[in-house]
């Protein structure tokens, strides 16, 4: 097995046993990136020199016996995370030349353990999209079939795992942006409970919905990486101050005796046949593993997309107001005065989807429409959250599909934004409710594309969904299937 094919926990063992060095591992990945990324386009920036310096430093640290879980492990981050001294673009022309002057907290926690940064990954611009087609740096292609999308917005993060260009990556999830690409690319993607991981240093899209999460080859790595990045951050007022358990310890508990809810609104007729089949098989596996199933109802599911697209766009329209060409970022040339400078800079710097969402959000907040749109959406959000609270009274976790279909073709849905939005129906409610969710590989479609299954847990119930995911993964081994590049 090549070094670039391995998991964090495998590499850790080898590093500590001095069987391999971080520099060797890092070079393995850098070569892999070089030979594969031309056709995948997962990376916006590759930090080759710094990576090798970090690797050398990590090797010294290991030699001194000062090893942490991520020491010497090469990772990559969605280009939404600020990484000091490194270009951070958020896949936007607006930040094409932006060099981050500070580090995101989540990255700091990894860096302080001696993780090695391979580079920054492609995404939908400002995290707005479900296909990675809204990037100013071109779309990322799904390593399983390069005519298809990898999913979005953390498309690069998922593709990099699938193409074995990094051991693990970080993504962000506002409406499904970790879970859906993880599902489309056959890797593990976890969205923690809102407030579990610090948002400081993560370029904001929708503040009350954004969460940072790990994207990895297997569940063990996800548990490990979550443990590193999770925890209270005084720099983030929405960060929750509660202890971080040992997520890897929870894995062995298995799924026996757990009650899993199947929300009937998620198992609809419109599901793709392959997805339907994968779900049925997964349920069968879980029964064998000793879980019990109960049908539950989340009656307000069908209102989630509308709710999301009012709240997220409203918050985004305000969060993106700081991009006006004054203190950083793209500034238009030959403008006629200040207002023109701001308007031109923003119009040139933002892509179409970003502009669309800013417009929608501005409208939803504007005078005369605030109550009808924004407040209304926040009220429906309450109902959606109540649906989950109610369901969790009788079940320990929920099982659902991640997306109605496997990854669609590049260009297939770009003409109709609303159609694109509707495909997020299974992931969006999770962000609105603030609960946690994980996507694990659960099958391959008849045309060779991965299908994931989603497990949803109570707020701060990551241990429950991780152990259920682990049991399933070990029983089915879907995660060992690799994309043939």
């Amino acid at each position: 097995m090549e070094l670039y094919e391995q998991t964090i926990h495998n590499l850790q063992t080898q590093l500590q046993a001095r069987q391999v060095s971080s520099v060797e591992i890092t070079n393995s990945f850098l070569d892999r990136i070089e030979s594969t990324d031309q056709s995948i386009n997962a990376f916006i920036t590759v930090t080759k020199e710094q990576a090798l310096l970090d690797a050398a430093a990590a090797d010294q640290r290991i030699a001194a016996g000062n090893c942490a879980p991520l020491t010497g492990i090469p990772v990559a981050l969605k280009d939404i995370f600020l990484t000091e001294g490194v270009r951070t673009t958020c896949a936007s022309k607006m930040l094409d030349n932006f060099i981050a002057p500070y580090d995101a907290t989540a990255w700091t926690r990894m860096k302080s353990q001696g993780a090695v940064l391979l580079g920054k990954l492609n995404q939908d611009e400002f995290a707005m999209g479900s296909s990675c087609e809204n990037s100013a740096f071109g779309p990322t292609r799904n390593p399983w079939n390069k005519d298809h999308i990898p999913g979005g917005s953390s498309g690069g993060s998922a593709a990099a795992i699938a193409a074995q260009q990094a051991v693990a990556t970080l993504g962000t999830d506002t409406g499904g942006s970790i879970r859906q690409p993880a599902s489309h690319c056959g890797c593990v993607g976890l969205k923690p409970t809102y407030g579990r991981v610090s948002r400081y240093g993560v370029i904001a899209y929708a503040s009350s919905l954004d969460q940072v999460g790990p994207m990895t080859r297997d569940v063990t790595d996800a548990a490990l990486l979550l443990g590193v990045i999770a925890g209270y951050d005084p720099k983030d007022s929405t960060s929750v101050d509660c202890p971080v358990p040992d997520y890897t310890a929870a894995l062995q508990q298995g799924v026996k005796g757990l009650t899993i809810g199947l929300p009937k609104e998620y198992f609809i007729d419109g599901l793709d046949a392959d997805v339907q089949q994968a779900m049925e098989q997964a349920i069968a596996v879980y029964r064998q593993l000793g879980a019990e199933f109960v049908e539950v109802s989340l009656p307000h599911t069908n209102y989630a997309v509308a709710t999301y697209y009012l709240i997220a766009t409203a918050e985004a329209s305000s969060n993106l107001a700081r991009y006006e060409g004054v203190r950083f970022g793209h500034r238009a040339k030959d403008t006629a005065g200040l207002i023109d400078l701001m308007m031109q800079s923003r119009s040139e710097g933002f892509g179409a989807e970003v502009k669309r969402r800013i417009m929608l959000g501005t409208y939803a907040l504007s005078s005369g429409y605030y109550d009808a749109y924004y407040i209304k959406a926040q009220k429906v959000r309450t109902l959606i959250q109540q649906d989950f609270s109610e369901a969790f009274r009788s079940v320990d976790l929920l099982l659902t599909p991640v997306a109605p279909t496997p990854a669609f073709r590049i260009g297939e849905k770009t003409a109709d934004p609303l159609q694109m939005y509707l495909s997020d129906i299974f992931t969006i409610p999770v962000n609105l409710a603030g609960i946690c969710g994980i996507s694990v590989p659960a099958g391959i479609s008849s045309n060779g594309l991965p299908i994931g299954l989603q497990l949803l847990g109570r707020p701060f119930g990551e241990e429950t969904i991780l152990r259920a995911a682990f049991d399933f993964e070990q029983a089915t081994q879907w995660h060992t299937k690799k994309a043939a590049l």
């Binding site: 600020l82 958020c90 948002r199 400081y200 005084p234 007022s237 929405t238 107001a321 991009y323 203190r327």
Partner: protein
């Protein structure tokens, strides 16, 4: 047509915290541009606000001191608009649930007291500054961005410019007394926006108001409001209509002007800030703040009247600022002569401070030193005239009054023998004036007093001199 002016005031009070409201940058005034900045107040991508607890404490103090109710839950909201001194493209403020509601201040209007309502007080952040003439453009300095402000909004209860100024002075006194604002109006610590409208006398409907923004002195507030009232009355009488707009006061010309380049009314699109969580204030917290509130000016004033038996004028002057009141009190309690302390503080001390442009907190003569001086006068050791010299010495060189008097031999002479001798000598040398005095010219007495004091180098006890002179001159 006779018009009734209606005035409401919005005051922005800059809070005297060490760090900004949402980040740890220093609030110190006068630093080099953009020195006191960080990702949060620069509004860099990914930065997040975290609330300075002291700002909440100060807001509660302000609310209690102005009789407001403190909201048990209060929320921050974003006020969205674009301007280069507003780096996030929104200001974090409070909209629906401000921290304080429904208070009031009482002001003196002639002999009467008038109650001015306070609609609300809320917390918000200050914007940065725009500086002109930067190589063909304007410069943005974000040092001030993120400085904590309290916005105090009054009810439109004022009817004259004088009432407005009285309200402002009262509010100013309170916030400086509380120690939550440094009161430095030149540096922008206390900024006033005035909403002015006029309505026909007897009408129940307010007229359209104009807002005069950012007036930074009491004198200018008075002038601006008076001008605006006159402008509006004239406009209406000429058949025109007052437009709801923002105006600036030009202190050089004494006029208000409509602000150029302001487009149609802003739609601020207020919504609760998702990056911040609600501020919940318990009864216990309010109680604690209440117990720790410093004595407020009105209470202190009344106490000075009764405890020190001071006349109202003195009490008023001495309580006009807390450092002044504290100085006076320390001095009075040490020398046990409140009236003397009051006279010296309001007189010599204030004069010397003003002449040298020094604040009382930086006075070279401490309350204890002044008290020492007063004790010497009360004990008859020195005369009032000599005391003034000793004060100057204390001011320039420090030390203790008693030591100065001894070193320089300034103790006054009360020894009747020495004084009599001096009087005799002077009378002998000035028989002409003696005759005039005895002939009924009372004014000549002063001449003799002067001569005696001169001969005794000012050290004669004046009371003794008076007595003896009277006796001897009487013949």
């Amino acid at each position: 047509m006779r018009f009734q002016p209606v005035i409401g005031l919005e005051v922005h009070v800059q809070l005297k915290t060490d760090s900004k409201i949402f980040c740890g940058c220093s609030t110190r005034f006068g630093a080099e541009p953009n020195l006191n900045t960080c990702p949060v107040c620069l509004a860099l991508p990914g930065a997040l606000p975290v609330l300075n607890q002291k700002v909440v404490e100060f807001a509660i103090m302000a609310g209690l001191a102005t009789n407001c109710s403190i909201s048990p839950t209060n929320i921050f909201a974003r006020k969205n608009y674009f301007y280069p001194d507003l780096p996030k493209g929104y200001q974090i403020s409070q909209f629906d649930l401000p921290i304080c509601l429904a208070g009031h201040l009482d002001i003196a209007v002639g002999d009467q007291t008038k109650r001015i309502g306070i609609t609300r007080i809320h917390m918000e952040e200050d914007a940065g500054k725009l500086v002109h003439g930067q190589g063909g453009g304007s410069g943005v300095d974000l040092n001030r961005a993120g400085t904590p402000l309290l916005e105090v909004v009054s009810e439109p209860d004022m009817r004259t410019a004088d009432e407005a100024v009285a309200y402002l002075k009262k509010l100013y006194q309170i916030v400086t007394y509380l120690g939550i604002c440094d009161g430095n109006m030149e540096e922008g610590s206390f900024r006033c926006d005035a909403n002015v409208s006029v309505m026909p006398v007897g009408s129940g409907t307010f007229g359209t108001r104009a807002e005069i923004k950012n007036v930074n002195s009491f004198k200018f507030v008075k002038a601006a409001i008076e001008y605006e009232i006159a402008r509006q009355c004239e406009l209406i009488e000429d058949g025109g209509k007052v437009v709801q707009e923002t105006r600036l006061f030009d202190p050089n010309k004494g006029v208000t002007r409509s602000m150029r380049g302001k487009e149609e009314a802003h739609d601020y699109r207020y919504f609760p800030d998702p990056d911040l969580v609600p501020v919940v204030i318990s009864d216990d917290w309010i109680k604690r703040v209440k117990n720790e509130l410093p004595e407020l000016p009105e209470v202190k004033f009344n106490r000075f009247l009764t405890e020190y038996s001071l006349p109202e004028y003195d009490a008023d002057v001495l309580t006009s600022s807390r450092p002044l009141a504290d100085y006076f009190e320390q001095c009075a309690q040490t020398c046990n002569n409140a009236k003397a302390a009051a006279n010296w503080v309001m007189g010599e001390l204030t004069r010397s401070l003003n002449d040298n442009g020094i604040a009382i907190e930086d006075s070279p003569v401490s309350p204890a030193q002044l008290a020492g001086l007063i004790k010497l006068i009360d004990g008859g050791t020195i005369s009032g005239t000599i005391a003034k010299k000793v004060f100057e010495d204390l001011w320039k060189n420090g030390g203790e009054a008693a030591a100065i008097v001894e070193q320089q031999g300034l103790a006054q002479v009360s020894d009747t023998g020495a004084i009599e001798t001096a009087i005799d000598q002077i009378m002998a040398a000035n028989m002409g004036q003696v005759e005039e005095y005895r002939g009924g010219k009372d004014k000549v007495f002063g001449f003799f007093v002067g001569q005696v004091m001169k001969a005794m180098k000012g050290k004669a006890n004046p009371a003794v001199v008076n007595d003896l002179l009277k006796q001897k001159l009487a013949g």
